[in-house]
Symmetry: D2
Subunit: 329 residues, 4 copies
């Protein structure tokens, strides 16, 4: 297409849009620091998760932000380079690998509907005869673990390789201490896996599936790592350096869609309403969100609201998308 | 901002994005006709809603599409100018008027979470003590009707004025015959309104609230009307002619977010996954969807899937966003 | 059978049983007064129902007991002759008339299982597709009202005649003021009836069914009236004077069985465990219980526990069956 | 009390009652054989449980009855002396030992309400925050196992001693093969125990609790054994020879009350309505029922109705209490 034709077609509105995007981008650093400052003085009613010592011992005042644009520009502030337990955020990476590997056959064993219930609920699962509502609740992730174990002889190692490849960071690893702590307190996940198995939706030994699952939840990353790792979802499936395809554009879009409706347990609607970006949270206080074709962003603040999502993390992202005037909507 | 600076900042990716948008746009008509042709030969297992004669008597083979870009270009095919009962789609317009009128106080009486349950379920409502999960399920719309009745002496008339103003079409009106049919078969809605009143979340007489509600559901539009009417949600709240603000940009974004997570009852996740646009369906077989900053689209095919959404309508939109490679994700 | 044979067969145990029954009976008056005295000094955490003025205005300290044996002996104490609103207790009489009239066909429209949920819950009803779990919850009684309306041209009058015949008390009547108050506050019952109608399990106009239902709930009786009226269920279906059959012995047994498992909403198991007699409670603070082949008993104390049953009434009956050592178990 | 006084007090009704009891008793054998013959020709739509081979391999046509009166008379027919897996029936014996041992403190950890849901449902458990509705559903029995493990160093051995003492039959034992089969297929029970532990309502290691539970379910008895073993509940807590107290009369009554409302999962109301006796069923096709102060009865027929209770067993008992005209109601 020639430039002249391009200009003729490009509507005024698109110029507007680009302009807003561009202007916002110039101001990203400023906006981040401004909100960061505001929130430092906001009273935070949240509570740090304490069910395992590795979460309970984290300083509740940690607060970091890291944004990376698809063009490679980066903006960050606060504890943005400190490692923390990303917990359930890793479920998206697990899902990405499974979806890439077996495609739509995955949906025979797990749904794509928001759960509309607390994240560890068994009620919905029984109602739906052992088909978890979506792959981002615990039950769904257990099934996805089981799926990958049928595909790979060493599924945990395969996942680790996949994550390291995406992000180019060879240091990302499972954390044995966290995995063990999870295991020692994971009665509800043991219950879930056996319940799923009673419906025939777990094919391997429950203990092995749980081992994989607890490893999955034990990964530590920084806000920077999160932004780097999830860049492929902002980037139509391409790697951060735009040289390789992690997923096809269509696959990446669909994962974003699932994050949008299912990424925040029974607060998914609220996150969509307030922030307007696909994202995923973890009980370690991390949140990752992506603005397709624009940026990925990692936020971390350990104190959780009563729905189990980072109180300050959501506050930050709401103000950030409001200030920049940019969201997928 | 000067042009030079603009060009420096505008990343390669944004060019990509615009390019794709532009190219797709050129091809819109062709893509629409192609998919339309494909789907005409697809076996449609859906069933026309028959609970009122005005729906049951519609020819099941009707099929229309109308797309309007923010720049004002239009593309259409099939029965795109024929009027049909838009039913629940009108709930978005009701919500827009209420949100515009009383703002965030609205969320004291209705939530923004996906229901995760069939659209007329009372279960969730009891669990949530009379606060409907969101304004797009029946219970939520009844509460929003009640809210507007406290704000306006003649809320139905006010709503009609609002809709006519948005769309510039003075012919849009309530349909008395449909409203009466709804009333005669609306036992479940009578149940809902009285149930809500028992929780104190309906302030007016149930019968009056129901009258308003049944009027709301009786509006008839064509695919063209739908695309015109919902253009403001694709357009940051501005009217189709871009001269007036129907809503602020932030308000428009938030309504889109609610459509995204709540617009398709317990198929919201699936629509998000397959189509990737905010939208709303009605049992008349209509669907409206918006691609913010790009287009609004109305689709109509009366046969519904088992979740109560237009079978062919969703099929069309899935193929359309796949073919164009464009969605909010 | 000759007396000699009779004695040979009558086991030692039956003598024991009769002896205990007889001895207890001698002591009934004494035991009643003793427990009454004890309970007068017990702190009562219950709360009087206030949703209609006719209940809210009753003195919370009222406390009456009336026991009538199948042989016609009577024992009573306290406010045993004062009229109060028997409310849901009347559902048993409604059920008796319906069961007598159409027999087991009744079970096509209502079940006989305990609800396991608060008495006005819609959840179970939806789960069970419009078939109420049992005839003693509100939904079930509404269906039974509807059933009787198909059998009689003036079902409320027929019910009144039936009750007066059972008890020989022509003064028993509906109370228009209570019925009206119920109606004015009965949103949840309006909801229930319309919900049932949406499933096709109400055949008449909802308003007429509700009129009958609210009349049913408006009956006033004293503890004496309750004991007299329910004597037929202690008496194998025979009238108190043992001259007429109200129900067959088998029908009477089955009504007792239903009271046993369903008479106290989601406290049925607890009442069975603590008291060990079939019975039924009302939000007016009344309880009636029957010990088949032995006695019927009416108790009244207006303050209700958190499950909606008379706090002191249950306390009294638990102590009474414990002191006498007699229950159906 | 002198004989004269006794006669004066003994009401005509009691004579009636004794007479009916006595006459029925004379006819027990005849009635049993008559019903047995009738049912042999009835089409049985039930299905044998097959989830473990020890159940699936049983001949579906087995059918036995054994009745024992409190006076020690016995009546039996068919396969009344053949051993079968009593499964959940043993939960009543477990409960008896726990109630006898720690008394009402037991109710801090398990309720006495009917579940109103399929027997292995996790839904109710979550709703009730880990307190099982009653001790006769799987979740409840798991908690009772755990309770006994805190009281005795070898709880399974203690239970066996208790059962052997009640019944005087030293041969009653756990069946290792059944216990192992249960274990290999017991995913849902593993789920339940871990779910309970996540709420803090299991204090021991889940695996040990499950071992005890699976042993409990593995006991084999004949109809005769059942009638002998459960005689104490018909007998005010006294042993079959009436020489020792297994439970106090009050404790025995309360266990019967619990069987009445909770003994047949979500068919408890139906069993109460049709049979009118406290009882307990097992998936092996056995049912035990007691008529306090009169008799205990064991019935066995392996084919189960869709609620998981013996189809022919319930049919038999309904006809038996109808024919004899005797039930607790």
């Amino acid at each position: 297409m020639k430039s002249a034709e391009y200009k003729r077609l490009l509507p005024e509105i698109a110029y507007d849009c680009i302009l807003r995007n561009t202007m916002a981008q110039v101001a990203y650093q400023e906006i981040i620091e401004e909100i960061y400052a505001e929130l430092k003085s906001v009273e935070n009613p949240g509570k740090v998760a304490t069910y395992i010592p590795e979460l309970g011992n984290v300083s509740p005042d940690k607060f970091g932000v890291y944004l990376r644009t698809v063009a490679g520009e980066t903006f960050h502030y606060g504890d943005s380079h400190e490692l923390f337990s990303i917990q359930s955020i890793a479920k998206v990476l697990l899902l990405a690998l499974a979806y890439k590997t077996i495609g739509i056959k995955l949906w025979e064993r797990v749904g794509v509907e928001p759960s509309g219930n607390p994240f560890n609920s068994l009620v919905q699962l029984e109602y739906d005869s052992g088909i978890p509502r979506n792959p981002l609740i615990n039950a769904g992730a257990l099934v996805v673990c089981d799926v990958l174990m049928s595909e790979f002889s060493d599924a945990p190692a395969e996942l680790l390789t996949f994550i390291r490849e995406i992000t180019g960071n060879e240091k990302i690893d499972f954390n044995a201490r966290i995995a063990n702590s999870e295991k020692e307190n994971g009665y509800r996940n043991v219950a879930l896996s056996n319940f799923l198995k009673s419906f025939g939706n777990i094919h391997h030994d429950c203990e092995e599936v749980l081992d994989f699952y607890f490893k999955l939840c034990s990964i530590k990353m920084s806000c920077k790592d999160l932004a780097d790792t999830f860049m492929f979802l902002a980037n139509n499936g391409r790697s951060p350096d735009r040289k390789r395809n992690i997923l096809t554009p269509s696959e990446a879009k669909r994962l974003n869609a699932i994050m949008m409706t299912c990424g925040f347990y029974d607060e998914a609607g609220d996150f969509s309403y307030r922030v307007g970006l696909p994202g995923k949270s973890g009980v370690g206080g991390g949140i990752v969100a992506v603005y397709p074709n624009n940026y990925s962003i990692g936020v971390w603040s350990p104190k959780l609201n009563e729905k189990g999502n980072s109180y300050l993390g959501i506050e930050f992202l709401e103000r950030f998308t409001s200030e920049t005037g940019l969201s997928i909507f």
